[in-house]
Amino acid sequence: MLLYSLIFPIISLIAIVGIVLRYMKRKNSFTTVILWSIFWIFVSVFALFPNLSTSFASAFGITRGLDFVIILVFIILFYIALKLYFIVDKMQNDLNKIVKEVAIQNEITLDDEEE
């Protein structure tokens, strides 16, 4: 057994336990737990049975198992980056609305300064 076959399942287990604990503290949603668990289970399975990735790869017309894993990781990272971009964009817009509204509701008078 290669070293990575041992390390990746341990990392996956720690990650899944971490996500479940965060869920129990209500810091993330159940969907997040499911999606991340699926991701880490896949990582463990591929680490333990590297040949399995070749079967998955051939299903998508890719010859090498490693290529399939790399492409999959790229897709996931791209998805995460895009999702984060939309979240930040929405938060920026919300922040702009709040800051604008607070300013409009509070005209600064000379009395304010004297208080």
Binding site: Q92, L95, N96, V99, K100, V102, A103, I104, N106, E107, I108, T109, L110, E113
Partner: protein, 234 residues
């Protein structure tokens, strides 16, 4: 005979001034506008220096001419101007002007800029800076921005990045500005065009100092505006 702007016209005009870290420059701008008899809505854009104190110092001299608002944190010239455009409606103005607060625009141009609105010749005006007076890098960035405004927003203007603009209250209610940064200049022009608001270009004087050059449309800002224009297409 050419129309002369009256005291009443000036009294019905509000100048929106967005200000970010302008403590050393804004006071002469505010006081020149107040001396001319115009009203102002000044928006402090979360400045880190004492811009707000300087504004309030001027307000003490002209308490009825100056209305002050302050954003809790810096959100950019677009948001500060939007705040000013929203707040100004409280005072029921007839004409609204927006100007830069760093001293690059002259209060002497205010009469000329609002004249087409008062005479009914136009409902929106953009103050056009003479390109020959512009430093080379600024001139180059502006030419590119004019071209991009033509491509993305299909409007042909001589100066798409001017911060000196005027609009009637009726026209302001028709347009919708969402830009946060310097894109506001092109967006203002696009909205005027899309809403079929008659507009005029008025030549204005621009005072370039090393300080005023540090802000505004340089090449980096131009690239940011381009990315925002592409984003707005979707």
């Amino acid at each position: 005979m050419e129309y002369e702007i009256t005291a009443e016209d000036k009294n019905e005009t509000y100048v929106v001034l967005p200000a970010y870290n302008e403590a050393t420059r804004i006071q002469p701008v505010i006081e020149a506008i107040a001396e001319k008899g115009y009203n102002m809505v000044i928006v402090n854009d979360g400045s880190l220096d004492n811009t707000l104190d300087v504004i309030l110092e001027s307000k003490r001299k002209y308490p009825n001419r100056i209305h002050v608002y302050s954003l809790l944190i810096n959100r950019g010239v677009g948001i500060a101007t939007q705040t000013g455009f929203d707040a100004v409606l409280k005072y029921n103005p007839k004409y609204i002007v927006s100007m830069d607060s760093d001293g690059q625009h002259s209060a002497d141009d205010l009469d000329n800029v609002i004249k087409p609105l008062v005479t009914g010749e136009a409902e929106a005006v953009i103050g056009v800076r003479p390109l020959k007076d512009m430093p080379f890098t600024r001139n180059f960035a502006n030419s590119i921005m004019n071209l991009l405004t033509r491509i993305f927003y299909r409007v042909d203007v001589s100066d798409s990045q001017t911060g000196f603009r005027a609009i009637t209250k009726g026209a302001l209610n028709k347009i919708s500005i969402n830009a946060t940064g310097y894109l506001i200049s092109s967006e203002f022009i696009r909205e005027i065009n899309d809403n079929n608001i008659p507009f005029a270009e008025v030549p204005i004087e621009t005072i370039y100092t090393p300080e005023t050059q540090a802000k505004g449309t340089n090449v980096t800002v131009a690239i940011k505006i381009l990315l925002q224009m592409i984003k707005h297409q979707f």
